[in-house]
């Protein structure tokens, strides 16, 4: 009997991810590790961790890595990649990190067409700090700093990173995907693989935005978050390819 699905080689043996049950951060870590195996690049990958739940990945996968201060992963990755062009560099960031405190670093790395890959987890909340309003929190969605739900009059509207970056000339690839069912997980993996392949091919800045959940801070069971995402999140953040060249 043949093993037809197993753990990727760069998930630490015996490790359990530090993420909460049902958190799609875990799914994405698994997919990134699978892609790294399939492309045969495990020995030349450098991960640049964002701040927040992202950093839980550092004890889970075994890729070379370093951490960045809040929001600065794209700046650090830009420089590392330029100084080490033969390596495969990716930043792994959440929405608070990438789209709020680090929005300048994100936009300018994209605008320079830096040849690295961004894995962007959008779960509409600040997970590790305990559920504050994120740049991507939906209108009406409750957060500890928006107890009555996001009110556009007070907080403005959710920030759409792919659409924003698609106004720039330089980015090579921008796609929004999700992991809420098997079909979409397969699509997400394909997008991640393409974003890494683009880097190998020297095409420049590639970003995959993965619509994710946060069962703990949304106050839902994992299965309930899937329904919420279908009904609300994906209506605000439509899936699709925003740039591919």
């Amino acid at each position: 009997m043949e093993k037809i699905y197993t753990r990727p080689s760069t998930i630490r043996e015996g490790a359990t991810s530090g993420f909460c049950p049902g958190c799609m951060h875990s799914t994405v870590h698994k997919l990134v590790a699978e892609v790294i195996d399939e492309l045969g690049i495990a020995n030349k990958v450098m991960t640049v961790w964002g701040v927040g739940c992202c950093i839980l990945g550092s004890g889970y996968t075994t890729h070379d890595s370093f951490g960045s201060p809040h929001g600065r992963a794209c700046a650090m990755a830009s420089a590392y990649k330029r100084c080490n062009p033969d390596e495969i560099v990716y930043s792994y960031q959440g929405d608070g990190d990438l789209a709020s405190i680090g929005i300048a670093e994100t936009i300018y790395a994209a605008n320079r067409g830096e040849n690295f890959t961004v894995i962007f987890i959008n779960n509409s909340t600040y997970g590790m700090t305990g559920g504050q309003m994120a740049p991507t929190t939906l209108v009406g969605q409750k957060a500890t700093t928006a107890p009555k739900g996001r009110d556009p009059q007070q907080h403005g509207y959710p920030v759409h990173v792919c659409e924003l970056l698609a106004t720039l000339q330089a980015p090579a690839y921008l796609e929004r995907v999700t992991c809420l069912d098997a079909k979409n997980v397969i699509k997400t993996k394909a997008a991640i693989k393409k974003a890494f392949q683009n880097q190998i091919d020297g095409k420049g800045f590639s970003l995959v935005e993965i619509m994710s959940n946060c069962p703990t801070n949304w106050g839902m069971t994992p299965l309930e978050t899937l329904e919420y995402m279908k009904e609300h999140t994906l209506k605000e953040f439509p899936l699709g390819v925003f740039r591919d060249r």
Partner: protein, 67 residues
């Protein structure tokens, strides 16, 4: 015959695999793992067709599939 194996220590009982399996092979088990989760077990193993969908949706890489 296809079969699934659950790495019980990695399972967090999110139930994604349970609702994904087309043949209802998997179910939340009775026993706890060391972290206190009622890890998933193949309750109906004979129905497995080796489609891998459970393993694909599993966030925690806790499922291995044989065919």
């Amino acid at each position: 015959m296809p079969k699934v194996e659950i790495r019980s220590e990695s399972c967090k009982a999110c139930e994604y695999c349970v609702v994904t399996c087309p043949n209802k092979v998997l179910a939340i088990g009775e026993a706890n793992n060391s972290k206190g989760y009622h890890y998933v077990v193949p309750a109906n193993p004979d129905a497995c067709i080796g489609c891998k969908l459970c393993a694909i949706v599993c966030p925690d890489a806790a499922i291995e599939v044989y065919k």
